[in-house]
């Protein structure tokens, strides 16, 4: 550890200095509100386009408007898991504490989006397929993703020793990441009730463009939201983990003075 610090301090101007929790903590605090603001703006515009501008779908009628939540949530649930796997790999290779904390901070939001994808999918499935649930490859692998998120959170919370907890979580994140391409390609690999990747819902290009715009705006909103919430969450994790250090002591004093 001492070695790690020494090698780091030789390049204090590098962006790598933010891999030190002490440096990242204030940065995260400064960035989070901006991402939250971006998420709010994109969300409002996306909802406006999705609910008021985008036309009725010629096949599905109005129920297709679930798409503006369903698809961004499903994308995010897969993407967040890959990011967790990425940080886990970085943590294992570079032995950086902050990487593991990032993976842990991401998990609840990924799980939330995963649940939203399943929930909205069920509500969309009933009127279009006649059933809330079917054990096809897409739905089943997405359900598995939900259990991977829950397993990651349960396991990392259950292990008291932070280093062992980090490593166990990283293992689930990395092994489980195999499931993400399976979800994504399931619709083309297997014969699923779930439709294939569709951005062109209608034949008319003008219709598709407002639908697509609404969906992409919501997806970017989900991105910004995830970043904001993760940064807020990682700040608590950092304080917790670094509680014995001098700088956290100062931060706590400052917080106490404010209260």
């Amino acid at each position: 550890m001492m070695k790690e610090k020494l090698s780091r301090s030789t390049e204090p101007k590098s962006w790598l200095r933010f891999s030190a929790p002490q440096m990242f903590y204030p940065l995260a605090g400064k960035m989070a509100p901006w991402f939250a603001a971006v998420a709010a703006v994109l969300g409002v515009v996306g909802l406006y386009i999705g609910l008021f501008v985008a036309p009725t779908d010629f096949q599905q009628g109005e129920v297709y408007r679930v798409i503006f939540i369903h698809v961004p949530a499903a994308w995010m649930s897969m993407f967040v898991y890959l990011v967790m796997a990425f940080w886990s790999a970085v943590g294992l290779v570079m032995n950086t504490r902050l990487s593991f904390m990032m993976a842990k901070a991401l998990a609840p939001t990924g799980a939330m989006f995963c649940f939203v994808a399943l929930w909205t999918g069920a509500l969309w499935g009933k009127p279009t397929w006649g059933t809330y649930w079917v054990w096809d490859a897409r739905l089943t692998s997405q359900l598995l993703l939900m259990f991977l998120y829950l397993g990651f959170m349960a396991l990392t919370a259950a292990i008291e020793d932070p280093r062992r907890s980090d490593r166990a979580g990283a293992l689930i994140a990395l092994v489980g990441a195999v499931n993400v391409p399976i979800i994504y390609f399931s619709v083309s690999w297997w014969n699923t009730l779930h439709q294939g990747a569709s951005v062109s819902l209608t034949k008319a290009p003008s219709m598709a463009s407002t639908m697509l715009a609404g969906m992409l705006l919501m997806a970017f909103a989900a991105w910004a939201y995830t970043i904001a919430v993760t940064l807020w969450r990682v700040r608590s994790l950092i304080l917790e983990r670094e509680r014995h250090t001098e700088w956290v002591g100062h931060e706590l004093d400052a917080q106490e003075g404010r209260a």
Partner: protein
């Protein structure tokens, strides 16, 4: 604007339950998550302040920890 009236908007062409069921639950979960994150922050800060009061860090330990960090 796609809708003739607000009631047509809320009716969602007869799919109100499915559409608003999706939007409502999503909004609810986002609200709950934001509250949990906020709560966790407050909870962590309070708890650590309490811990620090109960067992103020010893100067010698602090020096060692700093050098190890």
């Amino acid at each position: 604007m796609e809708w003739a009236s607000w009631s047509a908007f809320w009716a969602m062409g007869g799919s109100a339950f499915f559409v608003w069921g999706s939007y409502f639950v999503t909004a609810l979960l986002i609200g709950v998550e934001l509250m949990m994150v906020r709560h966790r922050r407050r909870d962590t800060v309070r708890r650590l302040i309490r811990l620090r009061r109960a067992a103020p860090p010893r100067a010698d330990v602090r020096v060692i920890e700093e050098s190890v960090q």
